[in-house]
Symmetry: C2
Subunit: 452 residues, 2 copies
């Protein structure tokens, strides 16, 4: 097992903290240590050995273990962290996750020496939350009982705060996650290592990055170019202005580089750039559920007029096109449902229920002028019932090469339809504009695949 794999897929973990040391900052504290123990015991399905650096258990006990742990997780102040890192390395661990921060240059050099001497890979230090693997339940975060549901979205965050926000978002909105990595100070394992691992990870369909800077730009671009042929990479970039880039430098010691350079690099690498955390998650959800879009033409199928118009506006703003439905499709729809004007965006009128959605959606998806469909189904002011939404999933499944996204617009309406479709292959958005943005990114990935 190589070192990076050992970070995510260890058979046995050694977790080292202290029941006594309490730092003002740096994240070493008896409470946080207890929380990580709680999470590992609750979620990790392999063996976790806990070592209290200031307690009664020591390495003697560990020597009696039948097998050496493959991963060491250390959450002690810098000096003690280095000491225990060396003990772990001697013992034969393949990798270390260093949670705590506040390391001086000298201490980082000591860690690097350990890495060289014992051929151990090191994530961190200052990873804060460390790693999550939903497949085996590995969870080194100190947020008690915080665990996203299993899914196919992998995350790499260069910021503890943004990573914590993404994790909180994923848990709260029930987004399916495969892996989570907080990279911290990157003295050894870096974005390229993690990208390569995620690229080969069968559980991962889409990779999300939050980045403020990159150390080996060329290697990063090369690795990304290879991966995007198999799965999309999305990036949110922090530090786009001189002032915020300066702050990013002090924050993650990144050489931020100008935003234009990053933009060009992302384009060259085939990395899709998003605008904020919500868009990162929304786009990842689309990629985890739907195919790339192979043309620009979007059909809108709705039971209300106004939101369909807003969707059509968003299509234009995002450089997509309103599909020109074929005359045959239009005639069929208008014959089936007199009173419905089948010009795209199609307003099927407020009394549309499952049957009308099913038939119109099927006709629209079968139309060769259509590359993707945005469905709007409001409950308020309409006759639509949440259970009617099932037909959207069923019809969409018949057309696996055309993306379908659904908009139960609003608050409660969204929540009610989410109960029906949330865990299916249809991505849901609470506003038409967000669904159009998702289609836009599915289209951009379609173009990337054509080019690469």
């Amino acid at each position: 097992m190589n070192g990076v794999k050992a970070i995510f897929e260890p058979q046995r973990v050694l977790l080292i903290g202290s029941s006594k040391i309490r730092e003002r900052v740096g994240m070493a504290s008896p409470e946080l240590f207890k929380s990580v123990i709680y999470n590992m015991r609750k979620f990790f399905r392999e063996k976790t050995c806990v070592l209290d650096a200031d307690g009664k258990y020591g390495y003697n006990m560990l020597s009696k273990l039948p097998e050496t742990p493959e991963l060491g997780v250390i959450m002690l102040p810098p000096k003690q962290s280095v000491e225990h890192a060396e003990k772990c390395a001697k013992m034969g661990v393949k990798a270390l996750v260093m949670i705590t921060g506040g390391f001086k240059d000298e201490q980082r050099q000591q860690l690097l020496k350990i890495k060289e001497e014992y051929d151990v890979r090191i994530l961190g230090p200052n990873t804060i939350m460390g790693v999550i693997n939903t497949a085996n339940g590995l969870n080194t975060t100190f947020e008690r009982n915080v665990m996203p549901r299993k899914g196919s979205i992998a995350v790499i965050s260069q910021s503890g705060g943004v990573g914590a926000c993404l994790l909180d978002w994923a848990c709260f909105y029930n987004v399916g996650i495969s892996k989570f990595a907080f990279v911290g100070d990157k003295i050894d394992v870096d974005d390229v290592d993690l990208l390569r691992y995620y690229g080969n990870d069968r559980k991962t369909k889409v990779i999300c990055l939050y980045m403020e800077g990159v150390k080996e730009g060329r290697k990063f671009i090369e690795e990304a170019r290879k991966i995007v042929k198999k799965k999309p990479i999305l990036a949110l970039k922090g530090g786009i202005t001189q002032q915020s880039a300066k702050r990013a430098k002090s924050h993650t010691a990144s050489i931020a580089g100008s935003d234009e350079i990053f933009d060009a690099a992302f384009k060259k690498a085939g990395i899709i750039r998003v605008e904020d955390i919500e868009e990162l998650m929304n786009t990842a959800i689309a990629f985890s559920k739907q195919p790339p879009m192979r043309g620009d033409n979007v059909a809108i199928v709705s039971n209300v007029g106004g939101p369909a118009i807003l969707a059509a506006d968003a299509v234009a703003k995002n450089n997509l096109k309103l599909a020109n439905l074929s005359e045959k499709t239009k005639k069929k729809i208008e014959k089936l449902y007199p009173g419905v004007d089948a010009t795209n965006p199609i307003d099927m009128i407020a009394d549309a229920r499952a049957e009308r959605y099913s038939k119109v959606l099927e006709l629209v998806l079968a139309d060769k002028n259509v590359d993707g469909v945005l469905v709007i189904n409001m409950l308020k002011s309409c006759f639509f019932e949440p259970k009617d939404a099932k037909v959207i999933k069923n019809v969409a499944a018949k057309y696996p090469n055309k993306p379908v996204v659904d908009v139960p617009a609003g608050g409660e309406d969204f929540a009610l339809v989410y109960n029906v479709l949330g865990k299916t292959s249809v991505p849901l958005y609470n506003l038409p504009e967000k669904a159009v943005r998702a289609l836009k990114f599915l289209r951009i990935y379609g173009e990337i695949l054509e080019k690469h």
Copy 2:
């Protein structure tokens, strides 16, 4: 009492529907009628008389009432609606809300004749959901038990669907609403009438419009110009492209006009244009709670690095400036909290609790180089507790001329802080970018007030 006032503030309402007629579309049905009865009985604190056009009660009963109803609400098919509108008018009602749709030109003319003959004001037909007034509980919507909480945001929607979505959003996210009006076909009462009424309404601090077109553009601009001196008007415009405008025309019979013309008209009128439904609500919340911003300089006070960098990026993207804190302010902060770099955006470090937030926020707000403050308080990966957020409200209240917005970034983190601050004067946003947009619109209104 004038007619428009009678639409929102009747002492007595006559509600007319049918327990028998069921239309396929058009929204006349016994169930919907029952729902409106339910809502009026549950929420309206004045008297509602219910007349079943096909039941045992008739106008004879009404003649025995001590006082004539001021408002008639009619939800019958077009032909019967016209008949009952005339009966109501004869009886002396001041205004009519016509819920149902499907009226032919001839029937609209008949309604207009009734308006002229009896001096009665008519909202609709085809208003679908009609009106809500949270102050007296008037609620003619047929969504059973849907009622937003009392507040100071007034809404006018030209679309039933978008209006229903806004209403659903407001209810689900607990947004405080003063009035809600679905304008429908606008044969009589139009946007100008409603704007004027909202402009004079003491319960309303900010007016939200969803519009697809306008009939009397000049009158509309003149009325808006007067109102924006007192309170901001926000507009979401649907139908910005040729294709979607065409759909808007068939949807609400609006002459949509080119988007450039609308944009120029909004600017001339001092109306603030927003991008989507969420931004309309988010901006309205900011205006309902905070003052306009009198300069471009934003300070960011955070307990995490990455989200503060994203906030700083958003400040630049939205043409605001990162405030240059005075040396005095910086020195005070750095002396109080060694280790904190007080360069804006200020990262107070993950162990910041109520006291540090209170002191730093106070120093920043007192700085004359600062026009508004964006606070970020994450819980995940930090020591901050929800109750600590109270100090933000307390310190912000000392500086009533500088807006303060708060970002408990994420999902659960947002919900937990919302429980503490949601009903206070501090607007909350789940992402830094949304909070910056709110500040941007507070700044735009500041500029409008300076110009007008």
